[in-house]
Amino acid sequence: MTDRYPGYDVLAKRRTPSWNEPTRQVVNRRLAVPREPRYLTPPLFTVLDAVCQRILPQPTDRPPVPLAALVDDKLFTGLQDGFRYARMPDQGEAWRRGLAGLEEAAEAHYRLCFVKLSGEQQDDILRRMERGELSGGALGDMPATLFFEHRLILDIVTVYYAHPTAWSEMGYGGPASPRGYVRMGLDRRDPWEAAEAHDGDETKARLENGFVG
């Protein structure tokens, strides 16, 4: 994947008028999330970690966003969605059953535990869950597709795109209080926004991104 916003780091704005004190504290806490599980058991956490690497594969040339730790943190702190599908258990129970269900499916189809499967095999198991082909066993009466779409995908995608590393790679301006933005129209960029590398001008974008702050 090419670097669309070369040299852009949203954290360079941390000490600028684009970040207020509550934002700094919130993001600091997120960056310091404990890497060890506090909610899931270590075996299930290992499965979660493998799942996260398939749902959002990350480049190897930068520190990865600790997705499994962030999902575990969500379960540990008990941040709720505000609703529960009548056919679903609460989020912690759903994750425990869902991960155990993936483990069972890996054993059933490949006679290996989930983390030992190749990436393609793991994707195959995940797609079976997405299509609703897994049922019973550890999943109990929980609908597999509903768990996949509204718990597994939602939680992993949410913690990734709430992380400054994701904001930097997609060129998102990030926190913006109290400074906000000034140049509002099409093809307009404030100097504190990410510069995009258009064909052949990676150097220019990299230079401009060095001044973002």
Partner: protein, 552 residues
Amino acid sequence: MSADPFLSDPFAAPRAIGGRAPDVMKAGGWLPMKQHDNNEEVDFVVIGTGAGGGPLIARLAEQGFSVIGFDAGAYFRPLEDFASDEIEQQKLYWLDERIIDGANPIRMGGKNSGKAVGGSTVHFAMVSLRFRPEWFKSHSLLGYGADWPLDWREMWDYYARAEKALSISGPVRYPWGPKRPRYPYRAHELNGAAEILARGAEAMGYQWTATPLATVSAPHGDSPPCVYRGFCRFGCSTNAKQSQLVTFIPRGIAAGAEIRDLAMVGRIETGPDGRATGVHYHREGRWRFQKARNVIVAGYAIETPRLLLASANDRYPDGLANSSGLVGKNLMTQSNQAVFGVMDKEVRWNKGPPSLSITEHWNYEDRKDFHGGYCWMAQGPLPVEWATIVAGSRKRWGAPLREEMMRYNHQVGLKMVGEMLPDERNRVTLTDEVDQYGLRIPRITYSWGDNDKALIQHALGEMERSLDLVGAKDIFRQEDDTNHLAGTARMGSDARSSVVNADCRSWDIPNLWICDGSIFPTMGGVNPSLTITAISLRTADRIKALAKRGEL
């Protein structure tokens, strides 16, 4: 947690206590606040401090009534409490568990439920629109839904008052509907996403306009002009947004109203004569009882029927104000589908309020083969929301999801707010599970009808055509989203077919009132908050008139 030691955690303990309330315009600031004893029979308790409760709290206090406004949520000072962050700011939402079912379950939370002093207006997108006049008589004039017991000409006057009180920024000339006065503040400039909507509408031959918004385009009191940071739906950290928290609530406190934050009302008590006598509420770790001469419920379309149903007693075994059997029924939401595409140009749609331009074409055009109307507005979802849309609507995960997210700054979108029709099968009931207060959790059952589906498909086709006409590529549809709520305690002209009358007074219990989106007989095709605010202002005037005649 804050760096400054004098600043407190809004969730640790109530802030509006000890004769003072937070001054929301100053970090660490306080305002003097009148307080009442539990045994003092106050004139009004108002349950909920959002678009329904807020104006009533202020206007009743200004008329000399003793008033207490209860809210289950925290009393935030935006300047010190609000981060620019999609996750942290979920603290503004009602995230307590609700069970959802039906063929099209409504996902609850930030799209439809606030839990804060100021209610959902603390996180709303500030879109402040008037109903089309015919919607107040949609059954008689348009052949669907139910008539409101209100006259649109009277509402037109209250809309103007609401727009003035909220310092709405809007266009010089609004393209649709009867004449209306100038908006108090000039319209905001368009961002790239809003410009794309305008070009698309013009290509279709439809009118469009800058959206009337409740965020100021020039200073107002202690509110600075909007800085276009784009986190409107996650709370305004600069106080440019004219939420209830910064408008009517401080007005109410200045006029002698009391606010009780972190105070969850669980039951309304009635006396031997059948009238309401006060409310049981949970605050600071225990249940308390506040005596009152009148009780106004303003908890929105889920918590309002939940409270009325949970207050059932020997005299009212089916819940309060429920002789019609309609409490909890006719729940409505609005279709909130969208069409998205990619532009060659950089759009950077996260800059500015998310809905800076609008077309109401299909709210005022009746040549179509379904009932109801809809508008669409420009969009600017932040990364987490955008990622969940891409993952959900396109079934993307793995490398394709990350690649698609890289196009964020070039994305553009149109999102509808569409009218869904009332249906008694769409409803709020109580489960046997209980929440952290020991109160029964609501069950929310919802299924789209054939008309709802026809309207949605029409809108998706129109929005797609519009994006196609401006050269957007890789266009896709978000088919399943909904937002605002209404219904569940409808107003009407007789006690058998409605819960409250035109004055928001319940037919069954004369000193029990309901004033929020619950009372809508129909949903309309625009965001409901301005209509709720206008009805709240009207109800305050009606209470004053009734009191003068000795009819309270």
